[in-house]
Symmetry: C2
Subunit: 437 residues, 2 copies
Amino acid sequence: MKVIYLGLIGFGTIGSGVVKLLQEEKENLARKLGFELRLKKIADIDLGRPRPVSVPQDILCQDAMMIVNDPEIDIVIELMGGYEPARSIVKAALRNKKHVVTANKALLAEYGDEIWHIANEEGCELGFEASVGGTIPIIKTVRESLIANDISHLMAIMNGTTNYILSQMTDERKEFDQVLKEAQKLGFAEADPSFDIDGKDTAHKLAIVLGLAYGGSVKTMDFYCEGIREISHQDIEFALELGYRIKLLAIAFKRGSRIEARIHPTMIPSDHLLASVNSNYNAFYLVGSASGPIFLFGQGAGMMPTASAVLGDVVDIAKKLKGEGGKRVGLRDPEVHVLRPLDLVPFDEICTNYYFRFMAVDRAGVLSKISGILGNHNISIASVIQKGRKKDGAVPIVMVTHEARERDVQDALEKIEQLDVVHERVKVIRIEDERLK
Amino acid sequence: MKVIYLGLIGFGTIGSGVVKLLQEEKENLARKLGFELRLKKIADIDLGRPRPVSVPQDILCQDAMMIVNDPEIDIVIELMGGYEPARSIVKAALRNKKHVVTANKALLAEYGDEIWHIANEEGCELGFEASVGGTIPIIKTVRESLIANDISHLMAIMNGTTNYILSQMTDERKEFDQVLKEAQKLGFAEADPSFDIDGKDTAHKLAIVLGLAYGGSVKTMDFYCEGIREISHQDIEFALELGYRIKLLAIAFKRGSRIEARIHPTMIPSDHLLASVNSNYNAFYLVGSASGPIFLFGQGAGMMPTASAVLGDVVDIAKKLKGEGGKRVGLRDPEVHVLRPLDLVPFDEICTNYYFRFMAVDRAGVLSKISGILGNHNISIASVIQKGRKKDGAVPIVMVTHEARERDVQDALEKIEQLDVVHERVKVIRIEDERLK
């Protein structure tokens, strides 16, 4: 099996996530791709600190240039963060004709033009899905899926820390300072939180997306950026009363031939999808000229979500390096020509929660008869609604069950429908609840 | 400039959308890509019917084989729909080493294995983003962005017609039959609606996504599929009372080594993102092993949204055909090496709605003073909240404005802050409302 060699520079949280994912998904990736992704070297100045993954000692080094100058390495993954030495290392890697995948939004926002220029000159790829929106495929969506669209608007929640703080202020009715302290304790905010709460992190990400969506150069100081320090609980309450929620939004849209771009706390209608983005999630609402509105939501940061985005980019580049006759993807196992059928669970073995509506005569003992049969079939009731009193005819009895098995449900309902106090067929609607949390 | 030749088979609604988008975005696409996409031939059996776009007569033909056998055509776009002759034509195109882009979910759900097998043998690409979720990049997300993930769950609203009907039944408190009739009048439901409302359309789409996410072969008759005919308004009311909404969901997840897959009306918690997908929109909620939850939302059908997805696939394939030194994308104009700065609107020229909170003494004439100054600066008030009565000290006066200009707002607030009845700085929060609709 062919091998694509990777070098990782920066072995912190995200770097550890990338190593973990490469280890865990090694066989799956090889099967899907038809070639192996092999991590050949990892560089980090601090090799001693404890990490959640273990790697062979001989692939570790302290000098990033050992990766940049390794002729066998095809793709360099830069996860150091910050401007220097990341900038010099990325440039050197591109000059050595290595493709680069990075999550470094500060670097791209500040020096993206220079870096893209070198990548173009050298014919190298630059993957940066992980730099904006973490695991959300916003870069791919804008530059690939929506390529035949003008992006007429973009409104995005791009920073998890500020969204967490605003969500807590709204839901727990607390003031900013208190929530910030709690967020710092929980690890949702840095000891020095100014980068997040003053909107600078959002500004870096908006600069990257603006360049992508509107094809030009832009610096973070070129647009207005206001953070969330001045938001008080009183204003959140007034916003709710007016039908709004307050979110830190990055906003961009076309106004004639010019682009309007700004970042500030924004009141948005409570029933909009963006208003329901809580906790530390990120989300992008964009409107394409042909596509209409698109909304993308997910984890904007974190070890494994970011690692997932980094590997998405690595695989995209690796597939192209391998040529693969123009084939895009491990849609199906490339070696397997007769597909095995998926092993599906038979429907009567599914387990879920159920809603039942019985139409039953309103008479003593009916509820006990029905619940007795359900109990005999291992179906336990979570809640009951019984309403209305009728002398004659049937009234609805509604029950929601705990998790039960389809076969048991069918057997029980067959018996219940034979009761002379039960009219009509029982209405069954399945419930998904736990799996959506 | 190099040219990639396209052939279009099927000149109906979506086909017209593709032609329109190719015409409108001709220059933009050429600039982004560095090559031209040229529609060389269009085949349709009915060349006479009126269409919303005009094309040169000499590119029209009635025989799809003229496209399949044209040696110059690189990419065939199949938008006929249905099983035959689409199946034979797609197979013939692949055998002639043409890449194929299709929106034909029925064909892929029923004959996908056969078609993918031929595409693999011939080293051809098969693009089918438009077949599931319309403009939503679900295919790309599953097979590219989440390649390093196991998809642990998928819950999706894949059919716009049924979602429209259920939304109307919920919001307008109407019964199924009435809403269906209205939907048919509005063009949201077919004259023969069974394909949508009995879940068959959803089943085709789920079969495609299952094959993609879990890498195997599956037929629509292998999993349970129940439509929405039996949903009554009474059950929707009980669902709301229990904290749920009813949606037609396609559900899939891993249970050990097996896959559980099913389609049925499902109660989901009212505060879940999927519950807020109204009208004819589609949405996908998926959980990747590394990514965590991802939610994607957009138009699942329609002329331009579907055309946008078709062209996304066409461009992906075309870029690979052109080689482009491994470069993925028209991130920036490929010919331009010094990027022009984006032309940004200065912040004091932005126009939006505003929330103001004034802290003012509770005295007659204060409101008139404030609103007078606002009026003098062309700022008109949409709503006011004034509460609480205090003998001494300041009370909040909250105002929401109609659209106003930032510079006018700053000028007005400077004057208002000089009033001796106004204490503290005025709190300003900008509102986005109209642009989110």
